[in-house]
Symmetry: C2
């Protein structure tokens, strides 16, 4: 919720109300775009099922193989290969919920996950942070906390991802820090890394305690989420399989996201890469539903191409866009809510970074993604998150959110009596009755874009958008946390962390 007052040409016109915006619940207004025919999508789905039946996937976790075996799959423990019949996949798709309401720290932060909604996340999982004042550096606890604070500050960002890896926190204690930072900086839906059962259980316990949830409360609705990345091609590793099982049994949200680069760990074609991504997602969804029928799970994809000259990943490309569209068609084919991703391969917050991110974003929007990850701040194909890019991309997300609200064309808006007929040829509408009633509320007010003319802008120092963004993120960071958490619950959480740390914490699984 933002409140802004408009002032225009020096005149005070206090009659009109200030503009208020609320981007916390969005539905996607863009007509879904297909890249493939219905027959082609059916053939991709069929090939995915055939691949699962004939070739299978490699599952490294014995418990996961046992679940697959109990469900009717053919399992070879010596090769760790699991072949999965289509009836198992179909049963999983039938039991997976089509609509999920995840509960955050406040009701207006709750996240609805179904086809047709639109939720944004900033960039996630970067090893480095960068900003114009401090330069590029390995991510720290301070960066994690500051970036979480920035995420809290903009209601167009609906879910908390782990923006950067806090590399200065030891890995066996890192999950305590990330959960504490999320819960004390934000009331939005927190993220839990699936780095093994011990860390997951610690994280659930912290979250339950902080939110004051009984076991029954926690099981009754998801209160956090994780991302499950398969290891393409066709491998499910130990922490990811544990995560699928742990989150399913706890009825917390898992978002399955094969990360498939066309021409590298996936086929070079969009159709081939998305078929691979699809079959890996189906295998993971099946495991989730075998562990707990009805467990909240999202379909997902993140497929782009490599640059064939350098082998480097590229994002915001036509291939990335088409892959998002294809994944959206498959998500609608199986009827599940799903996530897609924007992103950029640029090395700094510049024109390439803006254009790639927005191009990738439009692919997600026209693909009908329920969640768009890496929608703001992601550089270097995910190797860094930029504070300035975060602010700049939020401008675009806000503008998309404005489009979600639509526009009206009733008699008041067409305005024959209040505008069109009141101004003669050669006149202007500055003082038309319609203008007077709306001038403070009609237009989107930007965060970082400037409409100063060239002379004014030059006199102000000719700052580029990145430089202006620095001032914006600094003022938010310096203002302190955007929430005031209950002191007793914070203290209890800190006691828990101290106790568990003294006990040795919980190293990640690998």
């Amino acid at each position: 919720m933002a409140e802004r007052s408009g002032r225009r040409r020096g005149k005070q016109r206090d009659a009109a109300p200030a503009r208020r915006t609320d981007y916390s619940r969005l539905r996607n207004p863009f007509p879904p775009m297909d890249v493939f025919s219905a027959d082609e999508i059916a053939a991709m789905h069929e090939t995915a099922l055939r691949t699962l039946e004939e070739l299978g996937v490699k599952v490294l976790l014995p418990e996961a193989r046992a679940l697959f075996r109990q469900g009717g799959a053919r399992v070879d423990d010596s090769t760790q290969m699991v072949t999965i019949g289509r009836e198992m996949v179909e049963a999983a798709l039938a039991s997976a919920p089509k609509s999920i309401l995840a509960r955050a720290g406040a009701r207006n932060r709750d996240v609805l996950l179904e086809l047709g909604v639109l939720n944004f996340q900033p960039g996630a999982g970067a090893p480095h942070a960068t900003d114009l004042e401090r330069g590029r550096r390995p991510g720290t606890a301070r960066d994690f906390r500051e970036l979480t604070r920035l995420t809290q500050a903009f209601d167009v960002l609906h879910m908390l991802p782990p923006l950067v890896e806090p590399q200065d926190v030891p890995t066996h204690l890192r999950h305590y820090f990330t959960m504490e930072a999320q819960l004390t900086e934000s009331d939005k839906l927190p993220f839990v890394f699936a780095r093994g059962t011990p860390q997951t259980q610690d994280s659930f316990e912290m979250l339950q305690g902080f939110r004051g949830l009984s076991d029954a409360d926690f099981a009754a609705a998801p209160h956090c989420y994780t991302i499950i990345n398969t290891n393409s091609p066709r491998t499910l590793d130990i922490p990811m399989a544990q995560g699928l099982i742990d989150f399913a049994r706890a009825r917390q949200v898992a978002i399955v996201t094969p990360f498939t680069l066309m021409g590298a760990m996936a086929p070079i074609t969009v159709a081939g890469a998305i078929t691979l991504s699809h079959l890996e997602a189906l295998a993971a969804i099946t495991l989730s539903q075998l562990a707990q029928p009805g467990a909240p799970i999202l379909y997902g994809t993140f497929t782009s191409n490599v640059d064939m000259k350098s082998g480097s990943p590229a994002f915001g490309t036509p291939g990335h866009f088409h892959a998002s569209l294809a994944a959206g068609q498959l998500a609608r084919h199986i009827g599940l809510p799903w996530r897609s991703a924007a992103g950029s391969a640029a090395n700094m917050n510049d024109v390439q970074a803006a254009n790639e991110n927005q191009f990738g974003l439009w692919g997600c929007l026209m693909a009908g993604a329920s969640v768009v990850i890496h929608a703001a701040g992601w550089l270097e194909g995910g190797l860094s998150v930029s504070y300035e890019k975060l602010i700049c991309d939020i401008e675009v997300l806000n503008m998309v959110a404005e489009l979600c609200a639509g526009a009206q064309a009733g008699a008041d808006e067409i305005g024959f009596d209040t505008a069109l007929s009141t101004v003669q040829p050669g006149g202007h509408f500055f003082d038309a009755p319609q203008t007077m009633a709306r001038y403070q509320t009609e237009f989107y007010q930007p965060v970082v874009h400037s409409y100063a003319n060239f002379r004014t802008w030059t006199e102000r120092g000719a700052e580029d958008t990145s430089a202006r963004a620095t001032g914006i993120w600094k003022s938010i960071v310096e203002a302190g946390p955007g929430i005031t958490p209950d002191a007793a619950r914070v203290a209890a959480m800190q006691d828990f962390i101290a106790k568990r740390s003294a006990e040795g914490g919980a190293p990640p699984e690998s």
Copy 2:
């Protein structure tokens, strides 16, 4: 047409063909998006007709008023007001062609104008040019020529606009220069400013002579185009009315574009501003068809909002996007090909410039515009054209053109036999048969985007995208004209210019 060779990881694989692209004929693949209901659109059209009937438009040119009077309009010469019955508008919409093929200097440069096609133009009409080497300056003949050369170099730009105003050429001779520069630098469809009948007739004569067209040839198909801007609200000035009449009688293309800023010269609402724009376009189209039934004419709009704090124009905003959508719905309502516009209010080629331009572009794409003007290079709301921004925006247009080509998902692309089944878990697809057959042709190759990793990019000097763009435009400009025009025709054109200049040229009408 571009030819590029791919090389990857040092290996030579000469078997695969080089990537060829052809962006010269595009059809819009994006599902059209509606912002208003069919009833609301009908109400806007009805209000436009009512306004023309009851309030009318001010027409400054006596000849135009005479044409309106002959056609049945009520004309008051003392007030210059013309009220136009709906039957006149309906007759004009019935006689205006729904599909126009404009002939350029080569058949692959011809421009088809109808609903469903997609043509791009760079930014037009800026008083200033800017680049990183020479800074911002009033536009010159050299800038006009260089920017025309850059427009010729990229086949995703389909029509030549007057990118900058060559302010160092006297106004009574400027049209000779702009036509000569366009014809000697490019074989794409040239633009003629409608600055009065004498300049228009000179321009037509130069074009006919250079292209070797008889009067009958010239009348048989359009060979150039102009833009007609109404003076909002509800005024048609002398040069614009002359342009409508001259182009109609010569059967050359006129694109009617009311330039309506919401909250200034147009109503503050999208619905009101587009209703005003619509009625002005209908009046101009009616005049065109009164002058010559069947004359090639395009519907058009360029509507954005002002910033209510400063009064400055803003582009690439949610209001701009919605206005494009509404105009597209009205264009489909009346069945005419139409133009829309992207653009940016930023003062330099930075993140804001990229994000605004692309945001505005997506509005045009989802609105189904047949022609998108200001699609590349436009800064400061049209006060300057940036050489670097031109290159950077072309990257986005190329990627959109790649989307127009779609993607396949046949058995070869899904690739069960040539990719999916050939790679085991833990493997990679670098050498899969499908990859080997396609690695040089599958992916878009960027113009200015870089996929270098952070270390390589830093070692190369950490150039931002704008700096790389400088090298690209310079190499194109330095390479000389992209065409080799017939020397005899150039000489004849220069003789014509010398003769007409000696006779005093042709001052613009005002």
